[in-house]
Symmetry: C2
Subunit: 622 residues, 2 copies
């Protein structure tokens, strides 16, 4: 047996015993301390810096400065325990536990969920009326035109007791499975509410909404980071993790399920409710998240020709998925179109209503993976592009997610820099909307040129030469929460421009391929992580969004969640989701030569072809 | 913690450690030694006599003679362990492990089971053809007109690997669920057989048949006692056991499931097969056995108005029932009509074919509970009566089940008694068919009168006065395996006459209630435990069966098993089973005054009204 050592985490004061050779990152995870690890513990991102007091073995890394190394800093993913340790985890290396909950802006559909409660007043049995308890219930339901009714074993086991305990007056919960109805619960007459949850399983964030299925009202909601980030920031590094670790799939699956259950627990406690009352759940997430939630091997998604195990999972009972709701509740996941156009996009489409609209619309969901959908009530086409993690804080030195202390808005006037942060806290970094605003302002104020290069200006104390080209100081050390200047470098800007170029080029290719131009669009729906905070003019300024009348743009916020909630409330929309996926054409950009041409043209600010951006060319917006 | 003691069972030489206070019966069961216990360990039947060397605490009992008590005999159910013990379990106190396997005589239906294997040769995916693995399979099945196809999580988890391991050539096992088909397995092209099991869960015996679902051929079969007998001989004492013990239901449920799995294991090993290849199971059993198999509380069956939890269980997957077959195989149980007309009777009806016949038939299944069905292709009516355990060896001093050494046939000629035993072994007792033949012969030879009273005859050394009235010596001590005279007493005969009277009266009431008489019957189907061995003439002689032309009687043997096998092979018959149960009228004899009158009249040999038995009255058969 291997030796064991004690690791104490500071300032949490949590102690854990681990085997010799365990990484400090794994030791932290097993103590419920979540250290940021964009690369999935592969020693590539340098986000998991910790201060270690004690003996560790570590591979060489260039991601720590000589100063940091001398000071006792290590990358938690590379440092292996070989003795008792004290580990200090700095704020900036932590995954924040509760992030800002993004609202979804979706209409209330006609409420017709597939679960229903039926009160029954039954005649007690007698020698002359001796049908079985189950038949007594199903006959009563048949008299109410409920059609063919079935039941599962756990409910069957309690039916006799519940009927007698309640003097044959009960409330039956039925799940409509189209061709039949299943009794998923039976309880006292007082059990007359109808509760469900909508779950958005994002790569970065999980959100759970508790919904009243009678009124459509959101009772409460909770969100948290997807703790899978410990195994990799983006979906591909998580897939790699499962390929490289025998227990990888089961680890990632239980992480995501525990994460959802934690949020359900908070909701249930806070709202003074029992888990059993939640009798329906609808999930949305990208294709990889769906594979990992169901415990399916995502391996083939990563390798050409990029094949998922499934695009549509038949709905199945909660008990099979370890979800902390009524074990007989049927769980439905929004279907995926392809390996990179997932159930979250299907949800976006439903939330936007674009597939019920005669007008041509474009839908853009920007995350690490960007998805674009074009269409109306007669056709839908989709594509996806690898946008990169810039808008979620990755590949940008002071990039952070939309958490408290993130700079989300920036104004520059006459050299004066102003910004606002989420929660009005001292800044820790810049989130997606802040990055876009910053570049737009830098461009409008002539600090950067159309290629994004920072112009050194002796009169401007904020411009200087740094390790990654020139850099612009957004916030001075003394004003920040991290005791450092927050800067934006030439390299950062190039990464952001690549992201915006990928998104714009995807839209352009999709339109051109099907014979449309931007001017044909009546709506551009913006979904996703910065949807609520994006300044449209500034997004047009940098060439992320096309130069269209401002009222063309509609922000639907977290469409993945909103769409899931709408499907939770409506059987028609559940059918619609399947229809959307079945009828949507998908084009693969990774083999499109047009995409590379468009991408290259879009790397400029706002674009190589200025006539695509008349308002910017004529400085209307700047 | 309680003290533990060692108990050694002889002659098995099995040792078990048990807590102080455990009954010797429970200690034996936990060592897989099955001691007979008709009353379910309640100290009422006296069948569990054991010889104990060591200290036990025991309640008083009158079921042991003074001689037995002095010799160290105890009832295993009353004796509680208070020290280390040596326990000798005599042969006559044991549940025999393997009993005679009764054949079922049933026609082969048109073979059309709800499971099917479909070989698929798929085009491998490419960048131009990138549907998910599941869609690739379901699209191919759709092209074969398989309709709507679903899949469960365990099969979905392996689909990608199996497809690639077999170069996209696979065999898919589909379960037809009427409105949809489910992929329950996917394997290499060589997995092309289609195997199912038919299971008869009798109160006394469990039988499992391994069936080729392509040809309908029975590959092999195994049977064993239902080890639940340890908890009570008949269904009611088992129900009482569940009422009196908190873990009673779970104990009885696991006993029955283990029993079935033991037989499946034997079949699988013997036939060189994997469990996973068994992709369908059909079960039959009486209503209480079905409740106990599914883990449902049978309590209300025993109390007026005698309500079962269910009469029809939706088919469900093997994994939910701990059955050792393919975990995704759907298990179907034949539906029950009422608390005392179970799925075994539904199977009997199917096996007899009476519900497809224009002619009026009567079906009689005699066990501890007797069931009678009257009808044809336009109507069916059923009733049940508490026949008592006489024909299965209960309530008769030397009564035994149809096991090796049981006297099954008896002839008396000029005072000379001849008999044959099962397996041609020295007699241990008399089984059902032997009891009927014996009484018929005693009556025909004038040893008993029409009331069943044994006439003492000084010239007949076999008649004598005993503790239970007069008695007749069937086998002398020196000829038996148990070192005792095997006798039939006045009390035994009264018990047997009550049983035959209950059966005959049930038939009569059913006929009269619906305006028929015995002469209207074209067929009398005899199912159940002595079906194969019954001498029709002698059964008519004692008034068990009506006096009809001998070719009216058809023995279908184990109809519960035969019917289950037929349903296993045919979707139509599965539908038919539901139809039978839904359309069958049931009459409750326990509240019928006509029944009591008929029962009393039938207590004579052959009957009070001799004109009902013209052949007996005129001594044609005697």
């Amino acid at each position: 047996m291997k030796k064991e050592f004690k690791v104490v985490f500071k300032p949490d004061n949590k102690t854990v015993k681990v085997e010799q050779g365990t990484t400090v990152l794994d030791a932290a995870t097993s103590s419920d301390i979540y250290i940021d690890s964009i690369c999935g513990g592969r020693g590539k991102c340098g986000k998991c810096k910790v201060l270690i007091d004690g003996n560790v073995q570590s591979d060489q890394t260039d991601l720590l400065t000589a100063e940091e190394k001398e000071g006792g800093y290590f990358l938690a993913c590379l440092a292996r325990v070989v003795g008792n340790l004290k580990v200090t985890v700095p704020k900036e290396s932590r995954v924040e536990s509760h992030q800002i909950l993004m609202k979804s802006v979706t209409p209330l559909p006609a409420i017709d969920p597939p679960v229903l409660k039926v009160p029954l007043s039954l005649t007690p049995p007698s020698l002359a009326d001796y049908v079985s308890d189950l038949d007594r219930v199903t006959h009563a339901l048949r008299n109410l035109d409920m059609g063919h009714v079935t039941i599962g074993l756990p409910t069957l086991k309690k039916i006799s007791r519940v009927l007698r305990d309640n003097q044959w007056n009960v409330n039956v919960t039925l799940m409509d499975l189209w061709d039949r109805k299943e009794i998923i619960d039976i309880g006292p007459p007082s059990d007359n509410d109808l509760i469900g949850i909508a779950v958005d399983i994002g790569t970065t964030t999980i959100v759970v909404e508790l919904v009243d299925l009678t009124t459509g009202k959101v009772i409460d909601a909770r969100s948290d980071y997807n703790k899978q980030v410990v195994y990799g920031e983006d979906v591909l590094s998580r897939v790699m993790y499962t390929e490289e670790h025998d227990d990888g799939i089961s680890k990632l699956t239980s992480t995501i399920r525990y994460g959802i259950n934690d949020l359900i627990r908070e909701l249930v406690i806070e709202n003074n409710m029992r888990y059993e009352r939640i009798c329906r759940a609808v999930l949305s997430g990208n294709t990889v998240m769906m594979h990992l939630f169901y415990g399916l091997d995502p391996k083939y998604i990563r390798h050409e020709p990029y094949i998922p195990v499934m695009s549509f999972v038949p709905q199945m009972k909660a008990v099979k998925l370890d979800l902390s709701v009524n074990p007989n509740a049927y769980i439905y996941a929004l279907p995926c179109r392809s390996s990179y156009v997932g159930g979250d996009v299907t949800a976006d489409i439903i939330a936007s209503g674009m597939s019920d609209n005669k007008d041509i619309s474009l839908l853009i969901d920007v995350g690490t993976n960007g998805e674009v959908v074009l269409g109306n009530d007669t056709f839908l086409v989709s594509c996806s592009c690898s946008a990169g993690p810039a808008f979620e804080g990755g590949e940008v030195e002071f990039g952070v997610r939309a958490m408290k202390g993130a700079i989300e808005r920036v104004w520059i006037n006459d050299g004066l820099v102003e910004y606002s942060t989420i929660g009005n806290e001292k800044p820790k970094g810049i989130c997606g909307s802040g990055l876009i605003e910053l570049i737009a302002e830098l461009f409008s104020n002539g600090v950067i040129d159309r290629t994004g290069k920072i112009q050194l200006d002796k009169n401007n104390v904020r411009t200087e030469v740094g390790n990654n080209g020139n850099q612009f100081i957004v916030a001075f050390k003394e004003d920040t929460a991290i005791d450092k200047n927050i800067v934006m470098t030439d390299v950062d800007i190039q990464n952001i421009l690549r992201t915006k170029a990928a998104v714009y080029a995807s839209c352009n290719v999709l339109l051109k391929t099907f014979g449309y131009k931007f001017g044909d669009l009546c709506n551009v729906f913006i979904a996703g992580s910065f949807g609520n905070y994006l300044d449209t003019k500034k997004a047009i300024t940098i060439g992320l969004l096309p130069d269209l009348p401002l009222d063309t743009f509609k922000f639907i916020g977290n469409g993945a969640l909103g769409g899931a909630r709408m499907v939770l409330l409506s059987r028609d929309l559940q059918d619609k989701a399947a229809e959307i996926v079945e009828n949507m054409t998908h084009i693969e950009l990774s083999v499109s030569s047009m995409f590379f041409k468009e991408f290259t043209s879009a790397l400029f600010i706002p674009h190589t072809e200025l006539d695509q951006f008349p308002h910017i060319a004529t400085r209307v917006y700047t």
